[in-house]
């Protein structure tokens, strides 16, 4: 029985470690605050983050600042919950600029780095928007007029919206942020 117990403990140890690795490195998203297709976690950069959250943040948002300084929203699906796909075109529709001192919208490939496509169309920022409050950012492999980011070679890409020095209301509750919708326009020629 001792041998059997030792074997069971060892097996449990391995399964437990594997489960932790799957949760951190696998395609799993949980917890946090949701605003439409956008998600953020209150514990980013915080020393009081629970173990699983801290590990996921270390993998996907290493060196991110605490939310008092910057709130990071990310979206890996459109406003109807369909996973973002480089084969599709999207419109990111801002009805107002995010309530922060400065913001940027950046497209990352599914490996969480900038997609390699030679187009240098990875982001749009407050500087680009200027005084405009209502505007659209086109996400498409084909070059578009106006604000445009390209998902080419991004696979199941994701979007990150950084709010630097966000308003006090957003720091207290990121759920109150007014953020753009992400609308799928067409996929492979079909709408």
């Amino acid at each position: 029985m001792i041998l059997r117990s030792l074997f069971a403990a060892l097996l449990g140890l391995l399964i437990g470690a594997a489960a932790a690795l799957f949760l951190v490195f696998g395609p799993v998203e949980f917890g946090g605050v949701k605003v439409g297709p956008w998600r953020t976690n209150m514990h980013i950069g915080s020393p009081d983050a629970p173990g699983i959250v801290r590990s996921i943040i270390a993998r996907r948002g290493l060196l991110a600042m605490s939310r008092e300084e910057t709130v990071y929203f990310s979206a890996d699906a459109d406003s109807e919950g369909r996973a973002l796909d480089e084969a599709c075109d999207y419109r990111v529709v801002f009805t107002t600029q995010p309530d922060a001192r400065w913001w940027s919208l950046t497209l990352y490939a599914e490996d969480d780095f900038l997609p390699v496509n030679g187009l240098e169309a990875h982001s749009v920022s407050a500087q680009d928007a200027g005084d405009q409050q209502s505007f659209i950012v086109t996400v498409s492999r084909q070059r578009a007029e106006g604000f445009w980011v390209s998902p080419e070679n991004g696979g199941a890409f994701n979007l990150t919206l950084r709010l630097y020095n966000p308003s006090e209301a957003i720091v207290a509750d990121p759920g109150v942020a007014v953020l753009p919708t992400v609308e799928r326009v067409r996929c492979g020629g079909a709408s």
Binding site: R4, S5, A8, L10, L14, R54, F113, G118
Partner: protein
């Protein structure tokens, strides 16, 4: 029945232990890999480095921002404090210096709004522990920060969104400095 209960309990304890141990180890492991990458790119402990503008070839840290110029340094305050000088942008744009311990915690951030004059001078020192007298006076600095761990990483972020102003912005951010003492 006890023949199976004891192994089952041992398995369950092993499962929980394995899960918690792995979660406890991962942030430190991921951070150490990031620090190794920083060193492989020429980064030296207690000395600043200035990353080139972020483009699609940047592969050191996930989700780099192409709108930001990054400078940074690895710190090791085990043998004494470190002095960090962070410039405030002359154009009024956003900049910040953030401090990360060896377990990825962002234990301090200072941004340009907190800077009076052209730059802020920060002393980073080892945490004396709970049983030592915490004396942060006597330093020639605007602020003194205690590091929860002896090693870690400091990152200076400077917004760079106007391609036409790159040279001026780049020159300005290179005033970011880390040095022992």
């Amino acid at each position: 029945m006890i023949r199976w209960l004891i192994p089952a309990a041992a398995g369950l304890i092993g499962l929980i232990l394995g899960f918690q141990l792995m979660l406890g180890a991962l942030p430190g492991f991921i951070m150490s890999k990031a620090m190794e990458r920083f060193e492989s790119l020429g980064g030296i402990a207690n000395e600043e480095g200035h990353a080139p503008p972020i483009d699609e070839t940047a592969r050191s840290v996930v989700r780099p921002s192409p709108d930001i110029l990054y400078s940074g340094c690895l710190f090791d305050v085990s043998n004494g404090p470190m002095t960090v000088t962070a410039p405030a942008p002359s154009d009024g744009g956003y900049a910040s210096v953030s401090f990360f311990d060896s377990r990825t915690n962002n234990f301090a951030v200072i941004n340009d709004r907190a800077v009076e004059g052209g730059s802020v001078r920060i002393i980073l020192r080892a945490n004396p522990g709970f049983d030592s007298h915490d004396d942060s006076t006597g330093y020639d600095a605007d602020t003194v920060i205690m590091a929860p761990t002896d090693t870690g990483l400091i990152l200076y972020r400077r917004i760079w969104a106007d391609p036409g102003a790159f040279e001026e912005t780049d020159t300005d951010r290179r005033r970011f400095d880390c040095s022992l003492g």
